[in-house]
């Protein structure tokens, strides 16, 4: 395989797909996890401006697969069994002492009473730390996790594992907020008479 000069995009035009893959690996360009198919780069276009875009099924004809779905090749460990699931809500956050108080509701056995727990920040993954605030909702699974070796094709032993992830539900849309504001104005007017 010809060596691609990563620092000079012009030389990379010779093999744009190779360039894209290498550049992704070396400088960590934005990853399109769902993207398996990209449009071939036109020869007269600088690869500096090249950003792969998702394509419709109609356009797929002259395209080639450059990467299989990530889930198929990358995911090498999976839950084999989930023994317990809670849904939790943060009721008190203490960033100073790096812990928060939450009420957890048992989703595995719904007749169980709610429990109140104190959880340290160290049990929350780095990317979720910013989401800890009063009112935040999280999901907590406990179960068995197994690793799968792509190389040998063997499934590893089950290990006990927990996963605590905070909900990332998109904010309420501006349109909905506008509707709410109009409604609220009317209701407030009725109560206050002006």
């Amino acid at each position: 395989m010809a060596q691609v000069n990563m620092s000079n995009p012009k030389t990379a035009l010779a093999d744009p797909f190779e360039y894209f893959l290498k550049r992704e690996a070396s400088v960590g360009v934005r990853r399109y996890r769902e993207l398996n198919v990209v449009k071939p780069l036109r020869k007269d276009v600088s690869s500096v401006d090249y950003v792969p875009s998702a394509v419709s099924a109609r356009e797929v004809g002259d395209m080639r697969v450059v990467r299989a779905p990530e889930s198929a090749i990358k995911k090498t460990s999976v839950w084999s069994e989930i023994n317990q699931t809670w849904e939790g809500r943060v009721i008190e956050n203490s960033p100073g002492s790096r812990e928060f108080v939450a009420i957890i509701s048992d989703k595995t056995c719904k007749s169980n009473p709610d429990e109140e727990v104190v959880i340290g920040y160290e049990s929350v993954i780095e990317s979720d730390l910013d989401l800890i605030s009063e009112g935040a909702v999280f999901f907590w699974n406990i179960g068995k996790y197994r690793k799968y070796s792509e190389k040998s094709g063997k499934v590893g032993p089950a290990v006990n594992k927990y996963e605590l992830r905070f909900r990332r539900l998109p904010p309420v849309s501006a349109e909905t907020i506008e509707h709410i504001k109009t409604l609220s104005k009317g209701l407030s007017k009725i109560i206050h008479g002006h």
Binding site: E99, P113, E116, E134, I142, S184
Partner: protein
């Protein structure tokens, strides 16, 4: 002594305080079989505890003449809309802080109903339901110094929220509403501190009660208990029964209230708030110091459900501490007649040693 389920005498003033550990509701007999309910929490099957209690007394829901929603926190509002629906003859009074467009928008934005799991968290859904019922029911907004009820010698008077507290809350709600549009969806946050809660003064000419709700001190003469103390128009009779504000916490305590608004050594009652471990040891000592008796809705320890060893081990890896949130309803019943008070407790409530 167990709760008396015989209805009170015509002239008897009763204050029944309910608390399941995290929750508060007050049912008050104002005289002549007319009742007031302040805030709400629920028993089994989500029945408002006030309705459950009145049914046990053999009192019709029509005898509830006023319902007061003192503020919107989760622990004060569960089942409020069902209570309002059942008590069709009652006037509804809501803290003025909850009736402006900023707060209504905030409640509605947290009660869209499109996330099913969020529906289990009551506060904003209850407020939204109540506010939306306007038209069918008359809703009165409450500020300081309003007479909510007057019949014969009985007067129910609001002491808060002050107009400054209401104005401040509008800004806070507007600020929180902005976040609804920009941040990941969360459940409604509490507003801190509780300066918009409705504290009430009840007097029938012989006996006086002060219900402190969750009103806090502020270090600002225009806010919280400071504003109440400075208000020259407030009622002047001193209370023999004191519902201690904000679960007995230090930030609900005002020396001036104790000195000027309470009789010497009143009976003090409060609801526990287990999520914040209120009241604390020092709070109990402080309240006992000025009271003839301190009663609170406390909870017996309940064993956590047993799960598999692997689950328990992993749970302990994450949770620094853990306890069951019980729903055992503590009940303190105080009946007052011509200066004589009788306090009765159910098995979940207790007296400070």
């Amino acid at each position: 002594m167990a709760i008396n389920f015989q209805p009170p005498a015509v002239a008897e003033l009763e204050v029944s305080l309910f608390g399941p550990g995290t929750g508060e509701c007050i049912v008050a007999h104002l005289g002549d079989n007319e009742w007031m309910v302040v805030d709400s929490c629920t028993v089994e099957n989500k029945v408002p505890v006030a309705l459950d209690y009145l049914t046990k007394l053999g009192v019709s829901a029509d005898r509830v003449k006023l319902i007061v929603i003192s503020h919107f926190h989760d622990d004060h509002i569960a089942g409020a809309s069902a209570l309002i629906e059942a008590c069709s003859a009652a006037e509804i009074f809501i803290s003025g802080a909850l009736t402006h467009e900023e707060s209504i928008s905030y409640s509605l934005a947290h009660a869209l109903g499109d996330v099913l799991v969020d529906k289990a968290k009551p506060s904003t859904y209850e407020i939204a339901k109540i506010i939306k019922s306007i038209g069918d029911r008359h809703i009165e907004f409450v500020g300081a110094n309003q007479v909510l009820y007057r019949k014969n010698n009985v007067l129910v008077h609001s002491l808060s929220p002050s107009s400054r507290a209401i104005a401040q809350s509008r800004l806070l709600f507007a600020d929180r509403l902005l976040k609804v549009e920009t941040e990941f969806r969360k459940l409604a946050n509490k507003l801190h501190p509780n300066l918009c809660a409705i504290a009430l003064h009840i007097c029938n000419g012989r006996d006086t009660v002060l219900l402190g709700s969750d009103l806090e001190v502020s270090n600002d003469p225009a806010l919280g208990w400071e504003a109440v103390i400075l208000d020259a128009k407030k009622p002047i009779t001193t209370a023999a029964l004191f519902k201690v504000p904000h679960h007995g916490s230090q930030n609900g305590h005002s020396d001036a209230v104790v000195k000027t608004m309470l009789r010497e050594r009143p009976i003090s009652i409060l609801t526990t708030y287990n999520s914040s471990s209120l009241p604390r040891e020092e709070d109990i000592l402080r309240i006992k110091d000025y009271s003839s008796g301190l009663y609170f809705t406390s909870l017996p320890k309940v064993r956590a459900p047993i799960r598999s060893r692997a689950v328990e081990e992993n749970l302990l890896l994450v949770a620094k501490s853990r306890r069951v949130v019980t729903r055992n309803m503590g009940h303190i019943q105080v009946r007052m007649l011509d200066g004589v008070s009788t306090v009765l407790l159910n098995t979940h409530a207790s007296v400070a040693a």
